[in-house]
């Protein structure tokens, strides 16, 4: 298997910064791709060992391009997640003053995160979208726009300076990234893990989604993300991308997935992997009766009953 990681490029974006926080990234060649789709296709085609892409953002929610790529096509699996705090700098050519700025640029995903700042500080500036934040910085370097919103780390790469830093509309603006590879055995549980699945309902009826969520709730499993995505069969037809606390090797999680497999039209397992938000000491306590030991004891008891040995 080639020892390279594809990532959503170009170089000098938040994605590359987040990827470099993973210890395993140090031993791989990191190859930028022009889109989430092309990075994941490189994994599917065997050109890259894994791909690193954004999947959720505390301002915009689930990143639909990534979710849709994981929902459809050849199955892929999530092996790692990284959380990165996002704050923008306003990058300009040296000497530019705030009052000189008539045009600003950045990737469209940056816009909701800098909207209020723009309204307050540059209400008349014209916004033009760039292919990425790094590409916006390059366009400022070339003189096409007056200023770009990007990570402060991009300034030196493009010979720009940061006129303002720490720009973000929401407190705790974070983006979640995932490392995605071809399906294989998930890593062993760490004690603070997360399991991702996609669910398709068998039919649409009152209580249908409530019943799916009941498979988790019945086993005391908390959900961390529920994002509906269109199936492509017209308005109102959705599948559900769900992140649940726990690992598929936890008995409560395995039993919930079996329950879903029985009642759903289709279930796609997207992986069990370590949580980036908390460590094993910080996970919420299990509800009574939902530990592996209690599942095992209950199974023993039923087996004894079936044997007449209760």
């Amino acid at each position: 298997m080639p020892a390279s990681y594809a990532y959503l490029g170009p170089e000098g974006t938040f994605t590359e910064v987040a990827l470099r926080t993973l210890p395993e990234a140090a031993t791989r060649e990191l190859v930028p791709y022009v889109s989430v789709q092309s990075a994941l296709d490189a994994v599917r085609a065997g050109e890259a060992e894994a791909a690193f892409v954004p999947i959720e953002n505390s301002v915009e929610g689930g990143i639909t391009t990534t979710l849709d790529e994981l929902v459809a096509g050849a199955p892929l699996m999530i092996y790692r997640e990284v959380l990165l705090s996002i704050a923008f700098a306003l990058l300009v050519r040296p000497g530019t003053k705030l009052s000189d700025i008539k045009t600003v640029t950045a990737h469209p995903a940056a816009q909701p995160q800098v909207r209020n700042w723009l309204k307050a500080n540059l209400p008349d500036a014209v916004w033009e979208s760039a292919a990425s934040n790094a590409d916006g910085a390059r366009l400022v370097q070339e003189g096409r726009y007056d200023a770009a919103f990007a990570g402060e780390f991009a300034a030196s790469r493009y010979g720009l300076e940061a006129l303002e830093t720490d720009i973000h509309d929401a407190e705790n603006a974070q983006t979640r990234f995932v490392l995605v590879g071809r399906p294989a055995r998930p890593a062993a549980p760490t004690g603070a893990d997360k399991t991702s699945v996609v669910l398709w309902q068998r039919d649409d009826h009152p209580g249908g989604l409530r019943d799916l969520l009941g498979e988790f709730a019945t086993r005391g499993i908390n959900l961390m993300l529920l994002q509906s995505r269109p199936t492509g069969a017209g308005i109102g037809n959705y599948c559900f991308c769900i992140d649940a606390e726990g690992h598929i090797s936890d008995r409560r999680v395995a039993e919930a997935l079996m329950g879903l497999k029985r009642i759903c039209l289709q279930v796609r397992f997207l992986g069990s992997y370590p949580r980036a938000d908390v460590g094993p000491e910080e996970v919420r306590p299990l509800l009574p009766g939902t530990s592996d030991e209690e599942f095992a004891a209950a199974a023993d008891w039923v087996a004894r009953c079936q044997d007449g040995r209760f």
Copy 2:
């Protein structure tokens, strides 16, 4: 109240075409705005009677800009919805051949709907985003790009011709638009209505969302949309935009909303309005025991019991 409707402009986009299908639009001045936010702000400020904006799309799902504007700020209410089938035409300057096209443009929301067509027919064309599909057509007219994806109706307005029509990646590609005004009494039920609400959970615990959905399921109410949106309090903090079948004057819907009001941190009512997808003859039959008559009879029975007259 000024007799004008704000809409997401510019002129000549799918939004304007959808708006003109509403009979009441014929008697109003229709004023294009540069963004969903500015159109809704015009309503909040009393400059416009109502605003017409896209809210859901069968390819992309809920349109997050619109949902986020309805979730936050001064309360607004949905009065009408319109469904429009979306197919793109490839607009070019007269005489341009497919092989001449090096650059294409459109609003970013068009991209997922034409992606496969582009891959198959213009794999080397460079994509540049435009502020709107109509604006993309204007930029082609000015010679800045070779071709634009837009509604076929935009061709004549910009002196272009349609090289291809009926381009869409998903069958039944539709967009749902809503007419939004300041809160007032909802229109009377038509027999095929929909109710929109936003729910904030009181706390995050296993089964929390299942319990919210149970308020609908217990009363036999089917959901048509469930879209999670970040609350802005960091990754994993979501509120839920829900469309449910029925009208707030239906007893089952009113009782479900009361149940949600009791258990949620906050409930925002976004309106009850006629469904655009089906008429009163086509709505799904009610589950046994969930009609207004049965609710009334059950309330009578409890009152009689409380009186000792059962």
